[in-house]
Subunit: 145 residues, 2 copies
Amino acid sequence: MGVIKEFYKQYLLNNKIRYSAQRDKILDVFLKMERHLSIAQIYELVRNKYPQIGYTTVYRAMNLICKAGIAEKIDFGDGISRFEHKYGQEHHDHLICLNCGKFIEVIDAQIEELQRQLAKTHKFVLKGHKMQLFGTCCDCSKDIK
Amino acid sequence: MGVIKEFYKQYLLNNKIRYSAQRDKILDVFLKMERHLSIAQIYELVRNKYPQIGYTTVYRAMNLICKAGIAEKIDFGDGISRFEHKYGQEHHDHLICLNCGKFIEVIDAQIEELQRQLAKTHKFVLKGHKMQLFGTCCDCSKDIK
DNA sequence: AAATAAGTGAAAATGATTGTCAGTTCCATT
DNA sequence: AATGGAACTGACAATCATTTTCACTTATTT
């Protein structure tokens, strides 16, 4: 069994939360999925394999997976939460195409350092940050011209 | 009459949208208010002075004011839209206290430049960005200790 | 003044998310 | 193995911010 599932089981154990069949199946689907799916999309995938699992259960399972630190909820400002892998992932920010919705994960050490300095200047203890760059991607810039 | 109201009237005129008494009053409230209020808060302020104005009208008026470029909707990820002044304002980002909700507006020219470079590297035509730094502010860091 | 277009506000609709609750499953203790 | 209690599940209802609808009013044009 993968290291992430072991980690999840340990997290649940530590918090006296049971490891149910549903949670196992939803975690499997999450681990296999491409990045940045919404609850509705995850539910669809889950339901293909396990039709008896309910929408609410997917919500609850994904919230647990987030609390365990395996997934992260991301918000591109369109009112829909999406989830991405977090376990063992480097922190990163997003470049988002306003035309086709494509996104690129980016990280810039210089920016990260400047953010830390900026927080320090304002006497903030920095816990995290979000940065999203909006624009049109390479392909869409061509199309629009 | 202020330059912003003139600008707004001109915007409405250009778009064949009428300048109603309600829109005038809601703009007044918005222009006088402190930054970053939600619709509910704006509605409260409006209702104090003009009890007959409805919630829906405030929504519609704020959306118009945004379209005109006078206000900007901001989203701190808590599901509530807030509005801040945009006309004649410099672009800025936010430092947000996770404990008390206080925020500080910040701008860092170096970060802005690095963002432009980052977009360029990925062949994105940059249209805008959002950056939020989360942490605990000076006062709250004290309290928590 | 009539006709037409836009605006208003109350209420209903929407869509994402969370809460409720009766029934089920799991686990520890007899 | 039986039991009692706690956690879990899933269908549905509730919530909350926002948008749409619609009957009615107001403003503008002819």
